[in-house]
């Protein structure tokens, strides 16, 4: 919303420091609506004067140019070359003489244009930095004299404030609304128009009325509670007087002609949208407010033909739609320079109806903005009278003595009760009724005096009654009034005090600590946390039911993420594209799918079950360590990934990591792990799979030739356990004894089963078992391999003897020979 500082000053009678636009802007920001921009309008126009065009002649060397003889009011006649398509003989235009400077800093000199000397130039709005209309030279009203300062007559310089209105404060979309916030509602000084006044004789009807030679019929009272009209005959449509043009420009609006400008002025002054029709083009002088017909067409003022539907509301004459109700007028009934008689509409359209009409037409206008948010239901009559008076003042003509009013006059709003104790409860202040009254009265929220005989009495039993004015459609409850009190006091004026508080009864969500645990571990292992958009393309669907995003922003984002790794692989590709070979990313986020490793939240979307759960995804590729000149580059391999997976599974989740055999693929596929290649691992907790890890299948990543193998891990955050304190155990003070054992075994015997067998037979003297070597060679025999195991023995109460250790070793090797086809290798 653009606001003219001069206009506010005229209405509110600003005094003190508010006379400064900057201070006013700050005040408005702190009490009403944020001021986003403060800009000067019409500065640097000192050298621009009104010049009268005496003659317009062709330019001998250019068809598109003309030569104007102009009078600057100093008795001299100057030639000016002009490129505008239309220059009216006898019209007045802004002129800058040679030696002058335009607001943009451009200096004007006498110079020849296509061989003809031009003494300065006639200026457009753009050249004067007054507006965006560069279609032609800015024509001034005929009523001003040549030679006067253009800035003076336009009322410049002025300052334009751009307000960012809160959606509930549509009342601030006009100058009176803003003036109330900084002045006093009862002391608003409306501009006096130099023209006749209009006190009509009203012709009323609930849904239909005739008067001033026109018939008004409201067919849809639910979409239009009130429709008023006036007729002015014999207007002279032309440029507005400069004060009006200047006002509109300062408020960011474009001057069109005096009649249209008058309706716009009233809109910007008091928030009531009005529309002027060319009366002659309204067939049978009939106006009805009705639903559009499906497929009905209407060309609006902006020249667009709009195809309508029945949910839109139109203004129609006897034959056709002539305007979109509350949105925009039609081109056929537009007021032009040929117009002589006008009908001025002033109505209260329903917010929902206007929203629908605007939606159908695909339009949003100054009028629809206000109607959609709710305008003052009591303001139409005053706005119409004022608009008629302004038309008479700026365009002449004669107003019909009859005015037409259709619809039922709204009943006055009820007063709202306001308890002082409630105000203080919410705000924490110790206000009294006088404080509340002082805060609210200036913006028109008047205290209803309970006893007319004692004007000082403001409340009864601590309750005030507040009369809410029609323009405050947002105030319907006591709490709305409490907000007004706080706002009027100013949020920054509240004292700061420490308050005691009671801590929350709501327990922390355990997921938070789980996520923090995961982050700590992964960051310490050199991984970076990524955050991706949680969407994915259909190709990652697999055979699962996944959640489609309706009207997705792109194909790649047409489904909600159903697993983490595929989305992280796109982040990996981003890094590959930047030439980054070493990538270690993890992400904790939500996945959505019909099947989950575990479930946290379930919904039914269109009959399909959707389970939402939090997962951790990891992708790893590239060097195991940063490169160093002392050693060869070693890439992350499956054993690194198995180690990380084991750490997560065993230490964080208290679960077990199992190698997945090639003949066992069924379960994992249903979990959305189509990215998982061999070798792969599965984390199992209480018989359920809670995570997977392994190499990423090469078709899942678009990897450059220089990339290393890619690995992925994904597991349920839910499976992570809270970290519990562990119990201390005494460590032995006696030395350990180390022994190695090399065994050859058939290759089918898995290391894990050997290790298990060793653990099963051992006594508590065996402290640890470690595989230190795997060897396959012809001398071992076909289908055999050697596994080298290192054992560490220790007793808690003595130093072990050779005999102790030897008998342990014997037990271990016997067990292996017994359980497997094992042969002990002698070293």
């Amino acid at each position: 919303m653009n606001i003219s500082f001069n206009w506010i000053d005229e209405l509110a009678g600003l005094d003190g420091e508010l006379k400064s636009p900057r201070v006013l802007a700050d005040r408005l920001t702190m009490i009403a609506a944020a001021v986003e921009k403060v800009e000067t309008v019409g500065a640097g126009l000192d050298e621009i004067v009104a010049a009268k065009v005496l003659e317009v002649g062709p330019h001998p060397n250019a068809d598109r140019l003309s030569i104007c003889k102009i009078d600057r009011g100093d008795g001299l006649v100057l030639d000016v070359v002009c490129g505008a398509p239309v220059i009216v003989k006898g019209g007045l235009y802004p002129h800058i003489a040679p030696g002058g400077t335009l607001p943009g800093g451009f200096s004007i000199e006498s110079r020849k244009i296509r061989g003809e000397l031009s003494h300065g130039m006639l200026c457009s709005e753009v050249e004067l930095e007054l507006g965006r209309d560069k279609s032609g030279i800015m024509q001034l009203s005929d009523e001003i004299n040549p030679g006067v300062s253009v800035a003076n007559v336009l009322g410049f310089p002025d300052t334009r404030l751009t307000l960012d209105l809160n959606p509930n404060r549509v009342d601030l979309a006009c100058h009176i609304g803003v003036a109330r916030e900084v002045g006093h509602s009862n002391e608003i000084q409306e501009r006096v128009f130099d023209g006749p006044t209009w006190s009509p004789k009203w012709k009323d009807g609930d849904s239909r009325a005739k008067g001033a030679g026109v018939t008004i019929c409201v067919e849809m009272p639910d979409r239009c509670s009130r429709y008023m009209a006036a007729v002015v005959r014999g207007v002279r449509v032309g440029p507005s007087p400069p004060w009006l043009t200047g006002r509109l420009m300062a408020a960011g609006s474009r001057s069109i002609n005096n009649v249209v400008d008058a309706t716009n002025y009233i809109l910007l002054e008091r928030n009531q949208p009005l529309h002027a029709f060319d009366l002659t083009s309204l067939r049978r002088s009939q106006v009805s407010i009705r639903a559009a017909r499906d497929g009905e067409k209407l060309t609006t003022l902006d020249g667009e033909e709009r195809k309508l539907m029945g949910s839109a509301t139109v203004i129609a004459d006897s034959d056709r739609a002539v305007a979109l109700a509350g949105v925009m007028g039609g081109l056929d009934t537009e007021v032009t320079t040929d117009t002589v008689d006008v009908l001025i509409e002033c109505a209260a359209f329903d917010p929902k109806g206007v929203r629908e009409t605007a939606r159908v037409a695909g339009l949003s206008t100054d009028a629809s903005y206000r109607f959609e948010r709710g305008i003052d239901q009591y303001a139409q009559e005053r706005a119409l009278i004022r608009c008629v008076e302004l038309v008479l003042a700026v365009a002449g003509g004669e107003a019909d003595l009859e005015g037409v009013r259709v619809g039922i006059e709204p009943t006055p709003t009820e007063d709202l009760p306001l308890r002082i104790q409630r105000v203080n409860q919410v705000l924490g202040l110790e206000l009294e009724d006088t404080d509340v009254d002082r805060a609210l009265t200036p913006i028109g929220l008047a205290t209803v005096h309970p006893d007319s005989t004692s004007p000082d009495l403001l409340s009864v039993d601590g309750t005030m009654r507040i009369q809410v004015p029609g323009w405050r459609t947002d105030i319907t409850r006591e709490i709305d009034l409490v907000e007004e009190v706080a706002r009027r006091i100013g949020f920054e004026e509240f004292p700061e005090k420490e308050r005691r508080f009671r801590p929350s009864v709501v327990p922390n969500d355990p997921t938070v600590e789980k996520a923090a645990r995961v982050r700590r571990v992964l960051v310490s292992r050199g991984l970076f946390e990524a955050r991706s958009l949680p969407f994915m393309p259909e190709e990652y669907r697999g055979n699962r039911q996944i959640v489609a995003v309706p009207n997705p922003l792109s194909e790649a984002e047409s489904y909600l993420r159903a697993s983490m790794v595929p989305v992280l692989l796109r982040r990996l590709e981003h890094n590959f594209a930047r030439g980054n070979r070493d990538v270690r990313l993890f992400e904790i986020g939500t996945v959505f799918c019909d099947q989950q490793l575990s479930s946290t939240n379930e919904t039914d979307i269109e009959g399909a079950r959707v389970v939402e759960s939090q997962r951790v995804g990891i992708v790893l590729t590239g060097g195991r360590y940063p490169e160093h000149w002392s050693q060869d580059l070693v890439d992350v391999d499956v054993w690194d990934v198995k180690g990380l997976a084991e750490e997560i599974t065993e230490q964080l989740c208290g679960a077990r990591l199992l190698a997945v055999h090639e003949n066992d693929m069924s379960e994992l596929d249903s979990l959305g792990t189509s990215w998982l290649d061999w070798p792969r691992f599965r984390a199992v907790k209480s018989g359920k799979t809670i995570g997977v890890a392994g190499r990423v299948v090469s078709s899942s990543v678009d990897a450059p030739p220089w990339a290393a193998s890619v690995f992925g891990l994904e597991f349920e955050l839910e499976a992570v356990e809270k970290r519990l304190p562990t119990s201390y155990y005494e460590t032995s003070q006696y030395p350990a004894v180390q022994r190695d054992l090399s065994v050859t075994l058939p290759v089918e015997v898995e290391a894990s089963s050997v290790e298990k067998a060793l653990h099963d037979v051992t006594s508590d003297l065996l402290e640890s078992v470690r595989l230190f070597d795997v060897y396959e060679g012809d001398e071992l025999g076909k289908g055999r391999r050697a596994l080298g195991w290192a054992f560490r023995f220790r007793a808690s109460d003595r130093t072990l003897t050779d005999q102790d250790v030897e008998s342990e070793m014997l037990r271990l090797s016997d067990a292996l020979e017994e359980q497997f086809d094992a042969r002990i290798r002698k070293s």
């Binding site: 508080f501 929350s504 709501v506 970076f528 909600l560 160093h628």
Partner: protein, 344 residues
């Protein structure tokens, strides 16, 4: 004073013996270098012994001198021999001489800058008695809109901005639905922080993302008033942005709070003098907030006459952008290692 040749010869033998021992025990170039300095260095044991030769009677000097040279030669040879045993690791032989060579490093990881902002914010409010909870991202119309006093025909519920999954469920457009969920399940005092993702149909551009982090805060109890609300937020601003950061509350509108306020902080980039981060205003908006609207209390079954409270919402991504001077929101979601490494 004079020194007998024999005692100096004994001393040299001792140096020789312990020197050989140290050299042989050296298991890496560093240990070897320590041994070299100790025995063969300019102020080493051998040099000390040789300095004493001058004090030996002249007739014995020759023998002692020869012995000293032999010890030096022997130790030097042993040193070279031992150094050669390390050359399987050629490079380590070099480190001994040139310690300006680059060090060996390890991968370091890091949490995302937005996570850090979320954690810091939640920690500050934890001091004010707030616990931390999370909620579902697929949310019903009731929790996402109606319970928060947002009519379904309100612009905020418009299909333009909301991802509707069907007639009943949406991807939550804010973290505020958890206000209602928490209050339905607990009686006051309720103080919670709710970080999480929210979804809006915004195109992905420098200042918008279709899914973005939000943090909701809610405090409800008897006697919670606007003064407490403002003091709590100011405490947060000072803790998070620093004592010298100014803040201001200005009127705003949210259907689920009243009075509603937006909170601005003085721009931490320019200090309030105006820059592109603050759009030349000197202020950056960090949260929407207000006193909980009684209609929300009614929706969750709290007595609005008895309980009052405040609620606020922040965008940690935007705060991270302001804090680190990140010009484009999309950088946060690219997973670019070079970006993430800056915050490790």
């Amino acid at each position: 004073m004079t020194l007998s040749g024999a005692s100096l010869l004994d001393q040299l033998s001792a140096v020789e013996e312990s020197g050989f021992d140290a050299i042989q025990k050296a298991r890496n170039p560093d240990m070897l270098e320590v041994a070299r300095v100790h025995y063969l260095g300019r102020n080493g044991q051998l040099a000390d012994a040789m300095a004493l030769i001058a004090d030996v009677p002249s007739n014995a000097r020759r023998e002692v001198g020869q012995r000293a040279n032999a010890v030096k030669k022997g130790l030097t040879a042993a040193l070279e021999q031992q150094a050669k045993s390390f050359t399987g690791n050629a490079s380590e032989g070099v480190t001994v001489r040139d310690s300006t060579l680059p060090a060996r490093t390890r991968w370091v990881g890091g949490v995302h800058p937005v996570t850090r902002v979320i954690d810091e914010i939640c920690d500050i409010f934890a001091d004010l008695g707030f616990s931390r909870v999370q909620g579902p991202e697929i949310e019903s119309l009731w929790y996402n809109f109606s319970a928060l006093n947002i009519p379904l025909d309100h612009p905020a519920a418009d299909t333009m901005d909301t991802f509707y999954l069907d007639d009943e469920f949406v991807l939550r457009t804010h973290t505020s639905p958890m206000q209602a969920r928490v209050m339905e399940n607990h009686q006051p005092p309720v103080r919670v922080m709710v970080p999480g993702l929210a979804y809006r149909r915004d195109s992905f551009d420098p200042s918008h993302a279709p899914a973005f982090e939000q943090i909701e805060g809610l405090a409800v109890d008897e006697g919670v008033d606007f003064i407490e609300f403002r003091s709590a937020i100011r405490h947060f601003v000072h803790q998070f942005f620093g004592k010298s950061t100014e803040s201001r509350f200005r009127p705003s509108f949210y259907p689920f709070t009243e009075p509603s306020a937006e909170v601005d902080v003085s721009c931490t980039v320019c200090g309030g003098s105006g820059c592109s981060t603050c759009k030349r205003t000197g202020w950056v908006t960090i949260m929407g907030s207000g006193m909980v609207d009684p209609a929300v209390f009614e929706a969750v079954g709290y007595d609005p006459e008895r309980y009052t409270g405040y609620a606020f919402g922040m965008g940690p991504a935007r705060i991270a952008m302001v804090r680190h001077g990140i010009p484009d929101m999309r950088l946060l979601y690219e997973g670019d290692m070079a970006f993430l490494e800056q915050f490790s």
